[in-house]
């Protein structure tokens, strides 16, 4: 028997924080790739501390629904899961390349725990950003005549966070699909406040690389970009700012295709998921693809 455990931050204040985690867990549950799919949270329940004891299966794949490697993936989650002999060096990562380690956890010594790298740094995440752009523009072929901005925190809190943003921006640039691609930050240059300065294209899709919608994606970024003076009154998609149409996508983590990245992480760690990837990629598509 194999189980998937998705661990995420959660919130004491905002019910939307855990919504994407539950949604992706449900998507994966429906394709039946795992005998069990469970969720655990830092701020909600079950806590990461107690999630492993809710699992029956003996092979457990733990995938952190976090954007970058850092404090949570390297310290908090391994500590709370009580992973025996965890050493971040075993990930042998340059800040982007953590894949998985296989350990035991003293909480459930009879089980094998495959602890995976965060979803945000997986290469499949690039496709989720693009899918998010398709969803928000309702155009499965969006790209021509469009600029794309990938937005994150800066290096202030975690230098790996900026690395992840750059990494995906580069990969999308190489696809040659959008006219322009730019990485933008909340607390350093190039700043998301000045988004229109960085694009020539009239249409710009802005995708924040965040796991869930919350304060940053629903309040800060829309106000910083000038979509609205007061986030409570909402904003249109697109909104015209300085002559550009800004298509603001909200947190990329709410895109259904995120479930695919969770599956990829578990598969990389050895989970047997059959054809689940193909099924999930199709089921989570909100914009019908035209026949070629």
């Amino acid at each position: 028997m194999q189980a998937l455990v998705i661990v995420a931050h959660g919130s004491h204040l905002n019910p939307d924080s855990s919504t994407p985690t539950y949604d992706h867990a449900d998507t994966i549950r429906e394709v039946g790739a795992f005998d069990e799919v469970r969720t655990g949270f830092w701020k909600e329940e079950p806590s990461i501390r107690e999630v492993l004891r809710t699992v029956e299966a003996d092979e457990v794949y733990v995938v952190p629904l976090f954007i970058s490697e850092g404090y949570f993936t390297e310290q908090v989650i391994p500590r709370e899961l009580r992973l025996d002999g965890w050493d971040v060096a075993d990930w042998d990562s340059d800040g982007l390349s953590a894949s998985h380690v296989t350990l035991t956890a003293s909480d459930v010594p009879e089980k094998t725990v495959h602890y995976c790298g965060p979803v945000g740094t997986h290469e499949a995440m690039t496709d989720v950003i693009v899918r998010r752009a398709e969803t928000v523009t309702r155009d499965p072929n969006v790209g021509d005549g469009f600029g794309l901005a990938v937005v994150g925190h800066g290096t202030e809190r975690n230098e790996n966070s900026a690395k992840a943003i750059e990494y995906h921006a580069d990969r999308i640039r190489q696809m040659d699909r959008f006219d322009e691609v730019q990485a933008l930050y909340m607390d350093e240059d190039p700043e998301v406040d000045d988004v229109t300065d960085y694009f020539e294209s009239e249409d710009v899709v802005v995708v924040p690389l965040f796991v869930a919608d919350g304060f940053h994606t629903q309040e800060d970024i829309p106000e910083d970009m000038g979509l609205t003076d007061d986030y409570r009154t909402g904003y249109d998609v697109p909104t015209v700012v300085d002559g550009h149409r800004i298509w603001y996508a909200g947190a990329v983590g709410t895109e259904g295709l995120m479930a695919d990245v969770v599956l990829e992480r578990a598969a990389d760690a050895g989970a047997d998921i059959g054809d689940a990837l193909t099924v999930v990629r199709e089921r989570t598509r909100k914009t019908p693809q035209e026949a070629n």
Binding site: H12, R49, V51, T54, V76, R79
Partner: protein
């Protein structure tokens, strides 16, 4: 002949059967059947099947626990047996009770288990306050995961940050769950409550006391450790009284100050244990650590005796979550809105200072 009897005869021919007072063994002179009521020896397989027909409740009971529930999850099995009191009550009286429905409370959940003629159990799950309501008056659900949404908001539509908070809203029912789905649903309302309860029964619950839990914190929560000074634990008594009281949280607090020192506050009567301070308690304690770092000062306020009592009434009403229950025109309640607005109009200056006394010396 029911398939449960065929299965029982098969099992008896192999390793024998022993459960809840029923014993069937295979001896040299045939089968031997024992119940607390009777013993029969030297039975052929056909005799055994016939005789079991007279002890059908024993037979369906064996079938249910052996073939339907099984042993694959010891904690699920233990919980389902606890629900119907299987370890305390013999089969005949238990089946009588099951036909009427046996009720068990689990936090604010009420489980009612009933049995049909084949020994199949059916579980009805609802809010304890809805125990006497007609099922048709409640919203029906059948999928365990539907509990997620029901657990997210209180009856005023506010987000519940603590799944075991004593503010679960009612109005719903899962009228016929099987055992597996019952445990899933209970685990969705109260995550990890069954595994922790099971570990406690087995004597292996890993309680982690305040000192160790706080000592484990890093990052923004590491500051809470500075709140502990020496052996005093009054501050943690206050935390437990504020957050963990049965009126606030349905878990039974088992964690103490440390291995040697118990808190002075009672842990409550909850059906399932709390093994360490939760994230909500830690987040609140971070705030208290900062607030409690302040030194006291002497302020001078002039209040009438009734005003002093009114301030106390307001604190009581907020602490007990009674503010919304105080009627608008009930001016006999100190925490009544008009009474409170009057107090503010009279005693606050333009900067919101009580009796015009500034918080800090200018």
């Amino acid at each position: 002949m029911g398939h449960h009897i065929d299965a029982l005869v098969d099992a008896a021919s192999e390793d024998g059967v022993a459960l809840d007072g029923l014993r069937v063994t295979h001896e040299d002179d045939g089968y031997r059947l024992e119940t607390p009521e009777a013993t029969r020896d030297g039975l052929s397989a056909a005799d055994l099947a016939d005789t079991l027909g007279d002890y059908d409740d024993y037979a369906t009971n064996w079938y249910f626990w052996t073939n339907v529930v099984g042993e694959s999850s010891p904690q699920r099995r233990a919980f389902l047996r606890w629900v119907e009191g299987a370890d305390e009550h013999a089969v005949p009286e238990r089946y009588d009770a099951l036909r009427d429905g046996i009720r068990r409370e689990w936090g604010q959940l009420l489980v009612t288990v009933t049995v049909d003629d084949h020994g199949e159990r059916s579980y009805d799950l609802r809010h304890v306050d809805d125990g006497d309501h007609d099922t048709s008056a409640l919203d029906e659900y059948h999928e365990p995961l539907a509990a997620r949404q029901l657990a997210t908001y209180d009856e005023n539509g506010r987000y519940r940050p603590l799944k075991t908070g004593a503010n679960l809203a009612g109005g719903w029912v899962f009228p016929e769950l099987d055992g597996r789905d019952l445990v899933e649903t209970v685990g969705t309302f109260y995550p990890a409550s069954v595994p922790n309860w099971y570990r406690e029964r087995e004597g292996t619950l890993d309680v982690e006391h305040w000192e160790d839990t706080i000592g484990r914190q890093t990052g923004m929560y590491s500051v809470v450790e500075t709140w502990n000074r020496g052996d005093g634990h009054e501050h943690v008594d206050w935390v437990a009284e504020a957050c963990c009281d049965d009126s606030q949280c349905v878990k039974r607090r088992e964690w103490q100050y440390n291995d040697e020192t118990d808190l002075d506050v009672d842990g409550g009567d909850g059906a399932f244990p709390c093994r360490e301070p939760c994230s909500l308690v830690i987040a609140a304690s971070r705030k208290w650590t900062r607030l409690e770092g302040e030194e006291t000062r002497t302020y001078e306020f002039e209040l009438t005796p009734s005003e002093k009592e009114q301030v106390e009434d307001i604190i009581e009403a907020v602490a007990d979550g009674r503010v919304d229950d105080i009627r608008e025109a009930d001016v006999y309640e100190g925490a009544n809105r008009y009474r409170t607005r009057f107090l503010r109009a009279k005693l606050f200056d333009d900067d919101g200072n009580l009796c015009g006394v500034p918080t800090d010396d200018e």
